[in-house]
């Protein structure tokens, strides 16, 4: 562990010294000269690398931004419509279980009220005929 730590510190120092050699502040050894030469060769690649810049097309940005901007209100609309329909269905007696029971009771009551005894039914018929 300690060995690794010492090695890291050593490497850090070496890297810092090399940086100074690279900048020409300290004279470089033969071994470092090869590394500096490599670094300089890499620097010369900047001019040698071909650059073919495409024409900047920022319209793509506008086109692509249309979709999310449209999508947002559409999604919000669809969501609120779903909630509205759900509420409507829930409040409709046909679809709510609780109301169905109440309706059945109410129907029963009405039927009871409407239905007359058979005798009175006949009497009513006679009266109606005589009329």
């Amino acid at each position: 562990m300690l060995k690794l730590f010492i090695q890291k510190i050593k490497e850090k120092k070496e890297a810092e010294i090399f940086e100074e050699k690279l900048l020409g502040k300290i004279p470089a050894s033969e071994g470092d000269k090869v590394l500096i030469d490599l670094a300089q060769k890499l620097s010369s690649f900047k001019e040698k690398t071909p650059v073919v810049l495409p024409t900047l097309n920022l319209e793509i940005e506008e086109k692509t931004s249309i979709l999310p901007s449209l999508l947002k209100p559409v999604l919000i609309g669809a969501f609120s419509l779903t909630i509205l329909f759900f509420l409507l269905f829930a409040s409709t007696p046909k679809f709510s279980g609780l109301n169905q029971k109440a309706i059945a009771k109410e129907k029963e009551m009405i039927e009871k009220q409407i239905s007359l005894p058979k005798k009175t039914e006949r009497k009513v018929e006679v009266i109606l005929k005589n009329l």
């Binding site: 890297a15 890499l42 690649f45 920022l58």
Partner: protein, 186 residues
């Protein structure tokens, strides 16, 4: 620097001409960086376009104190774009182009005999560079090809400048070793 700040300010306000100026100024830097990572000119073109679209979207949030210079900010976006590209897409480069990244440019040369020793040296160095670990290659590209300071490179790669110096030193030593062992260069 003042000119750059003015440009950024205008671009932040949505000035397209200012943004185009930024593109003209820093586009080649971004292009070279991506090209050195992809070795494919067409992919590079697409990715450069993508980088600047992202930059255009994000420029309002750009803070010079936080991000450093605009070039390191753009290179940071470029780096992430390349990472995303390789994460999401299947490899599309041909074996030929993997073998020699400059093949398409070499083929446009008037004659192979006109290749100078400098070009051959460049090809060897390119191949050797490809054999380095990703982080070491990135440091060498940014530090020497793009000429950024170790502090700027550190901002792009999210490392301290001390760490960048160590990686750079290791990378140069390894590059030398590769050139010696694989290419009998030294």
């Amino acid at each position: 620097m003042l000119e750059e700040e003015k440009l950024i300010k205008k671009a932040k306000q949505g000035d397209l001409f200012a943004f185009e100026e930024i593109y003209k100024k820093y586009g080649p830097k971004v292009f070279r960086f991506i090209y050195w990572k992809t070795s494919d000119i067409e992919i590079t073109k697409d990715l450069v376009q993508e980088v600047f679209l992202k930059a255009f979207k994000k420029i309002k949030k750009f803070k010079i104190n936080k991000e450093g210079s605009i070039s390191s900010w753009l290179l940071k976006i470029a780096r992430n774009t390349v990472i995303d590209f390789y994460r999401t897409s299947k490899p599309v480069t041909s074996l030929e182009s993997l073998e020699d990244p400059m093949i398409q440019f070499a083929s446009s040369d008037p004659s192979p005999f006109e290749k100078t020793s400098q070009n051959l040296e460049k090809e060897v160095l390119e191949k050797a560079l490809k054999k380095l670990p990703e982080i070491q290659r990135e440091v060498l590209i940014l530090r020497f090809i793009e000429g950024l300071s170790s502090k700027e490179v550190g901002k792009i790669l999210k490392k301290s400048d001390g760490a960048i110096r160590i990686i750079q030193y290791r990378a140069l030593k390894k590059l030398k070793k590769i050139l010696e062992e694989d290419f009998n260069y030294y």
